[in-house]
Symmetry: C2
Subunit: 251 residues, 2 copies
């Protein structure tokens, strides 16, 4: 029996946001590999072995998954959201490049998922309805100066922005610095949305003018969406407001 490796996105939380392709791969798998809370989302069944590991061991986890597949297992590496957006796909390919030739010979596929910014934008309305960018605010894997440079250029381009990993336990002060910079660059009424645990029972959405944003509005389960200068809010009596970016930029 020949093994294979699929790197699958489980979306933001609700299993109703899994694609049919991911459901099929999990049904055929012998092994599931991933970060503890994501592996826990996959239902137990006979014949399925779960390998759950802690955060910050992505390359070890990827190498383990590749080795299982080389040994003939049918392996699904699970990520939250989309596996290609600040998640496990790049880590698996880094491990493939660093590993033995057998890793490159594998049947390997990436199964896309609903990444956090798409779920958050949809829950709020359509914040990413025009040109936008996605920036990981963690400085674990890049210098902080590069994050600041990208924030400046993103605002100059008038992109809507999705910020992943705004606040980590290890480095909680970074997000405050990012907010201060954004407040200096944007008009005070610029809309910013804090979307926490979207699609789960703990979901909260909080849209405020940038001048009123404080770091404590975000935690590790939050994705932050900063509107462009054209992002608008529709207030609705008795219903949540809608936040969206129109398709057109006036000439």
């Amino acid at each position: 029996m020949s093994g294979w490796l699929a790197i699958a996105g489980l979306g933001p939380g609700d299993p109703r946001l899994w694609t049919g392709e991911v459901v099929e791969a999990l049904a055929e798998a012998t092994d599931v590999v991933g970060y503890i809370p994501y592996v826990a989302r996959v239902p137990d069944r006979e014949g399925l072995t779960k390998h759950a590991s802690d955060n910050r061991v992505e390359i070890d986890r990827a190498t383990h998954a590749l080795q299982l597949a080389v040994n003939g297992h049918r392996v699904v590496v699970v990520s939250s959201g989309d596996p290609g957006v600040f998640a496990m796909a790049a880590a698996v390919f880094e491990a493939m490049e660093a590993g033995p030739d057998a890793f490159r010979d594998l049947e390997i596929s990436v199964l896309p998922g609903i990444t956090a910014m798409l779920a958050a934008s949809a829950a709020a309305g359509a914040i990413l309805g025009h040109d936008f960018c996605a920036i990981n605010l963690s400085d674990n894997l890049k210098p902080w100066e590069l994050i600041e440079k990208r924030l400046r250029l993103a605002v100059e381009a008038d992109f809507a922005c999705a910020f992943y990993n705004p606040r980590s336990k290890a480095r909680p002060e970074g997000f405050g610095r990012a907010l201060d910079l954004l407040k200096a660059l944007c008009e005070p009424g610029r809309l910013i949305t804090f979307a926490r645990a979207v699609s789960t029972p703990e979901e909260t959405l909080n849209t405020v003018p940038l001048a009123e944003a404080v770091p404590e509005m975000a935690d590790m389960r939050t994705v932050v969406l900063l509107g462009s200068s054209l992002t608008r809010r529709i207030d609705r009596p008795g219903r949540a407001p809608i936040v969206y970016t129109p398709r057109s930029v006036p000439v």
Copy 2:
């Protein structure tokens, strides 16, 4: 009976990339509204009325869908990809703002989908594995000068870039200008991937150094992914190469 409106993403083509949530909404709908080829993707069934309209009538289509829901219908507006990314969600909210109060009182939801860039990045590997941006290259709804400005800033930020709508029938020359600008800004070996009709039987993936890219590599069914300066290619004997962007930026 009270009506509702859901704006749903059908992903890039293959129904196996629909989410469970979208499948449920379509099963409960009385009406499906959308652009002709997207409505055609929804299977016929008794009790479901399909309203297919031509391209470039997004606001008329959105208003029609909102009015059907006000009249008590259960309406799904279908988009390709994700409805919030260069698709119908923003158009529906524009029509809501311009329309009668009844439009704001509706139960309305956006059901996210796999947008083209995520499917294309996954098919190639993980091109969007680090910070990135998404730019619509059509100048139907914004001035061309703004597109050029955003391309310059995106390259300066060293984002990977996803380009939607690279070539329209109406304005085929724009993409050639964009490519010329990118060639002037980036090193000649920068990787660029042309992903056409991803997840369909007509899928093609073509990754070349930017210096070899020509406008004819894209058509209306293509999304184009430009790597960052760190995007790499893993060649594999007898298998398609993998193109990915590592998670780390060296200090």
